[in-house]
């Protein structure tokens, strides 16, 4: 039996990989992927806590399903924004986005 801590270690690693990627990547798509990694780590946490701590209940699983659905929609919006940015400034480097700086 795999212990709960192992799952949590994986999700923590995933989370910090996501944060690292979000902070260091200059490309909007890469940043978006990193955000998805963070989200996934949170989803894993939900599932794990549900599975190990409250096995007779299902809130965690459903919450994860919801989160996946919402993040899919959110990703679609983000991609749409990124495409629009690309149309406007011909690249998607985050340092070039100065229009709405202040």
């Amino acid at each position: 039996m795999i212990k709960m801590e192992y799952y949590l270690v994986v999700s923590t690693i995933l989370m910090f990989v996501g944060i690292y990627g979000f902070v260091t990547r200059r490309n909007l798509l890469a940043m978006l992927i990193s955000v998805e990694l963070i989200l996934n780590s949170v989803d894993i946490n939900f599932v794990v806590f549900n599975r190990f701590l409250f096995p007779e209940q299902l809130e965690g699983f459903f919450f994860t399903l919801f989160a996946i659905g919402v993040s899919a929609a959110e990703t679609a919006v983000a991609i749409a924004i990124i495409i629009n940015i690309y149309r406007n400034i011909r690249n998607i480097e985050v340092k070039n986005l100065r229009e709405m700086k202040w």
Binding site: I19, F22, V23, T24, M31, V94, K95, L97, R98, M100, K101, W102
Partner: protein, 629 residues
């Protein structure tokens, strides 16, 4: 008598119309509209007077005080409210007649005098505004309404003095007039508020609460008199009136001789029941101020060379006479010490007529020689016979020669002064003599004396056009007969009829003094050569120069305002304002600005930097919660 409201409304409508649409009209049309409206107003005023006085006295033997219109305009608290309305009583009806007559004459006269001037329409608009305000002032039902219209006449006077707004002297004069009278009106306003607060009413008649107000009533009345003194050019607030002569001459006749400047006298007469009942000492003080002003102005008038200045100082002097007449009253009964009230109003009436005549005559002369200076005149009787005769009539009236109107009113004033104290009587008689002297100096200087032949040969003076001589003739006729009006039958201190009887000794004395003064003036000034006058001027050159410069009162004001008030008070206050008050606010602004510049650096626009800050913050908070709490 509801139609009296039209006396106020018609000139106001005319003012609005001429002011807004005047430039679209031809000057003559605008003038005709203004004059026609004024003619209607005059007819209405005469009808009012006729109806009012022919309606007769009530059971108590008084003319009733009517209020055809009165509405509460501004309720303040309980019984204290400001009304707007029309009050008719003998003196206000008398003033309506005076104002509408003089104003109509001036309207007609201005056709000739102002012909071809730029802003002819504007001129008539302002005249209408002035007439409306002055009428509103005299028919005011309470002190506050009087104050409102009081300020309005001040404004219209300011506008008309500065009519020639391209002339720097005219602008300076209009500002001076406005500031000095405003300054005095501050006293008036405080007086009204003190009176309103302590007596609980703004009405003219003493209320039941007036007695309880005690010492505050004399104070309030004294403050109100300051306002009156400013408007009526009493010493030391007289400095604006001689300068106000920069305005067009008909304006000087209307505003600065006949109507507005007597507003102070009218104010004291209006408040007379309060003055006599609660503050007789204040009333007597006004008499001393009036007497001093009359003397001062008469002395100054003896040496001025600008004919309008002479007339201005003579106006100040004559208003001094009216104030003295009111001030020497000791009771309400004209038979025992209350004669001055009637005398003052009578003099106001006659003076308005003959002084307007003098000013309009002076206007005709200025029109002919294009100058105010006496040196450009002399010997004008040949060229302008009508002006000469009417001017002579007015001079005789102001000098107090029987049977011209000034004799009767001045005689009543002198009788009242003698019954107050012999000293006052003698002083006023002497000033009356001075009056006769300087008026005839003026008369001889203009119409006889040294003629400026070169100037007259170059440009022959001519008689004024008919529109100008007609008012002169009408006013001269009024001046001849006004003295025989049984004025005491209409106006007296207690409201009961009073039959004017000439006091033989006083009349003889004043006539003798006047005749001697006229003879002296004739001896000194009527001839081509004036050795006596020149020698006297040389002998007393110091006094002559001082009087010519009006005893340096203007310079004293200049010194006080510029060297004392501006330099010692205003400049430090301005410095404090600029550097301390403004500096503090500037400091606040600069500090805020600097702080925002610093904070702005954090708003880099880079999402990733925000993310780092966010993470750092979250971590910090976590550590805080884990290890401290």
């Amino acid at each position: 008598m509801e139609y009296t409201i039209l006396i106020l409304l018609l000139p106001f409508v005319s003012f609005l119309f001429l002011g807004l649409a005047g430039m679209k009209l031809r000057p003559v049309v605008a003038g005709a509209i203004g004059t026609a409206v004024l003619a209607v107003v005059a007819v209405l005023s005469y009808t009012t007077a006729w109806e009012y006085f022919s309606a007769g006295r009530d059971a108590a033997g008084l003319y009733p005080t009517l209020m055809p219109w009165n509405t509460v305009w501004l309720p303040i608290s309980g019984d204290l409210h400001i009304d707007l309305g029309i009050l008719l009583d003998p003196i206000s009806v008398m003033m309506l007649v005076v104002i509408s007559t003089v104003s109509l004459m001036v309207h007609i006269y201005s056709f000739g005098y102002m012909k071809g001037e730029r802003g002819f329409q504007r001129y008539y608009a302002f005249l209408s505004l002035f007439t409306m305000s002055m009428m509103g002032l005299v028919v005011a039902t309470n002190i506050f309404q009087m104050y409102l219209f009081w300020e309005l006449v001040g404004v219209s006077s300011y506008l008309l003095i500065g009519f020639y707004y391209t002339k720097p002297e005219a602008i300076a004069a209009s500002k001076k007039a406005f500031i000095v009278t405003r300054f005095a009106d501050l006293g008036f306003l405080i007086g009204i508020l003190v009176h309103g607060y302590y007596a609980g009413t703004f009405t003219f008649t003493p209320a039941a609460t007036t007695l309880a107000a005690g010492v505050m009533i004399p104070l309030a009345l004294g403050l109100m008199f300051i306002g009156g003194a400013g408007k009526s050019a009493m010493f030391p607030l007289h400095i604006w009136l001689p300068d106000a002569m920069e305005g067009p001459t008909p304006v000087s006749a209307l505003i600065h001789a006949a109507t507005m400047v007597v507003a102070g006298v009218y104010l004291v007469a209006r408040m007379f029941p309060l003055f006599i009942g609660y503050a007789p000492e204040v009333l007597h003080w006004t008499a001393y101020i009036g007497a001093f002003t009359a003397l001062y102005a008469a002395v100054v008038a003896c040496v001025q060379s600008d004919i309008k200045r002479v007339l201005a100082f003579s106006t100040i002097s004559q208003i001094g006479f009216m104030i003295v007449a009111l001030g020497v009253c000791t009771s309400n009964d004209p038979h025992t010490g209350g004669l001055g009230y009637m005398a003052s109003m009578f003099h106001l009436f006659t003076h308005a007529m003959f002084k307007a005549l003098l000013f309009l005559g002076a206007g005709a002369i200025i029109h002919a020689v294009h100058s105010n200076e006496m040196s450009t005149m002399g010997g004008l009787r040949k060229y302008m016979p009508l002006t000469h005769i009417t001017f002579l009539v007015a001079c005789l009236a102001i000098a107090g020669i029987w049977p011209f109107s000034g004799f009767f009113s001045k005689d009543e004033i002198l009788t009242a002064c003698f019954s107050f104290s012999p000293v006052m009587g003698w002083v006023m008689t002497a000033i009356a003599g001075l009056t006769a002297f300087y008026m005839f100096r003026l008369y001889y200087g203009i119409f006889w004396g040294r003629e400026n032949r070169e100037l007259h040969a170059e440009h022959t003076p001519h008689e004024a056009p008919f529109t100008m001589t007609l008012p002169l003739l009408i006013l001269a006729a009024v001046t001849c007969v006004a003295g025989f009006i049984p004025f005491g039958q209409f106006v007296s201190a207690d409201g009961l009829p009073y039959t004017i009887h000439i006091d033989g000794s006083v009349a003889t004395l004043s006539l003798c003094v006047a005749v001697v003064a006229i003879a002296l003036a004739t001896w000194m000034y009527a001839r081509e050569k004036q050795p006596v006058a020149d020698r006297l001027a040389e002998r007393f050159s110091g006094l002559h120069r001082a009087a010519y410069h009006r005893f340096y009162i203007d310079e004293v004001y200049q010194f006080i305002t510029h060297r004392v008030i501006f330099a010692c008070i205003s400049t430090p206050i301005a410095w404090f304002d600029r550097h301390v008050v403004d500096g503090f606010l500037n400091l606040l602004a600069t500090a805020t600005n600097g702080a925002s510049c610093l904070i702005r650096q954090m708003q880099s626009g880079s999402v990733q930097r925000y993310c780092i800050w966010f993470l750092g913050g979250a971590l910090g908070l976590t550590i805080l919660i884990l290890f401290i709490c």
